[in-house]
Symmetry: C2
Subunit: 202 residues, 2 copies
């Protein structure tokens, strides 16, 4: 199950697909994303690291017309049409009570006890680690040949009520459309910083 | 600069290297990570998406013996030896005042004004998006043939004072050792959830 790839640099095409030539899309070609593709994204993202394997992410893949309408009613004006047009938009949420799952997710030790009674710490850990999982999700989607359009412009409380109403301990973090990006809907790439701007080697 | 890879699934070896067979390491082979390797990680991670291209991540790559000692003094007991032994440990921080950089990072519109006067919103955005960048960093390190060992067990205030003392608007998020993982330092992989456990298709 473990394999090492020391000094193996992925090929230029793979780095382009994951990082360098991929873009965030605002519009989508009329082509569906299958449930199998959705599952293949999760099968990759779940392997990437979270603190104490907490896996706090809770994912709702909004695919039906009815669910899209429900989600579109919760997003900012500029994001409404995007959600309705995308083949699927995933709500990346998190469970504040993720620690209840740690006995089976992290069987090496009693990690559940680290988080009991510390709701503020759990909220921070769940927010940080579900954000990591959202990033893994985007790179996993790109790795299987799909494009992403992440968004944070929406009413979190409304989304929580509409999609996590059954479990008030689940909260939304951000949302991300996934599909086949329409190149006509994007502009030039925004500038990126030189290494020295935001990095220090100490 | 834009290229599409629709339905191109990365090869099995690349998916193993990024997600499936990569592991988080607790110990390191005695082999250095060069400044060029550090730069190559940043050159990849900076291309991945952040909200309004805010790029809130501020990275301190702790590589000298002196800096390692300084960082080791701020981490939990179990992480001290890891920080001292790792070729490099990066502090993934964020700038609460990232919006000051938006006029050049997001030239399409006046995004700076969206964040002015909303420190709580900025803090949340910076925390979420620097977490995304931390995830990109880990997958970028793996993509260039290195291993990661992320940690959140440290005293954030102490790290902020020791490494961001010159700029009190910069805060630490998490830290991550990078190098050539020593396979003898890891145990069996923790279980991963089946799709149905934490996912819904709506």
């Amino acid at each position: 199950m473990t394999k090492q790839f020391h000094d193996t640099v992925l090929g230029a095409e793979a780095l382009d697909q994951l990082f360098r030539k991929a873009r965030s899309y605002n519009g989508w070609l009329p082509k569906d994303v299958s449930d199998d593709q959705i599952r293949s994204i999760y099968e990759l993202l779940k392997m990437a690291p979270t603190s104490a394997n907490m896996q706090p992410g809770r994912f709702v893949w909004v695919k039906s017309d009815e669910a899209k309408q429900k989600l579109a009613a919760c997003v900012s004006e500029g994001n409404e049409a995007k959600v309705l047009a995308a083949p699927v938009t995933v709500i990346i949420g998190y469970d504040i009570d993720f620690h209840e799952e740690l006995p089976w997710l992290f069987p090496h030790t009693d990690a559940k006890s680290w988080f009991e009674g510390d709701e503020k710490g759990r909220e921070q850990g769940a927010f940080r680690n579900s954000s990591l999982q959202g990033a893994y999700l985007m790179l996993a989607a790109r790795a299987v040949g799909l494009d992403c359009g992440p968004m944070s412009g929406f009413d979190n409380a409304a989304v929580d009520k509409a999609f996590f109403g059954d479990n008030p301990r689940h909260k939304s973090n951000f949302i991300c459309s996934i599909g086949y990006g329409d190149r006509t809907t994007i502009f030039d790439r925004s500038p990126r910083p030189d290494f020295g701007k935001f990095n220090t080697i100490a």
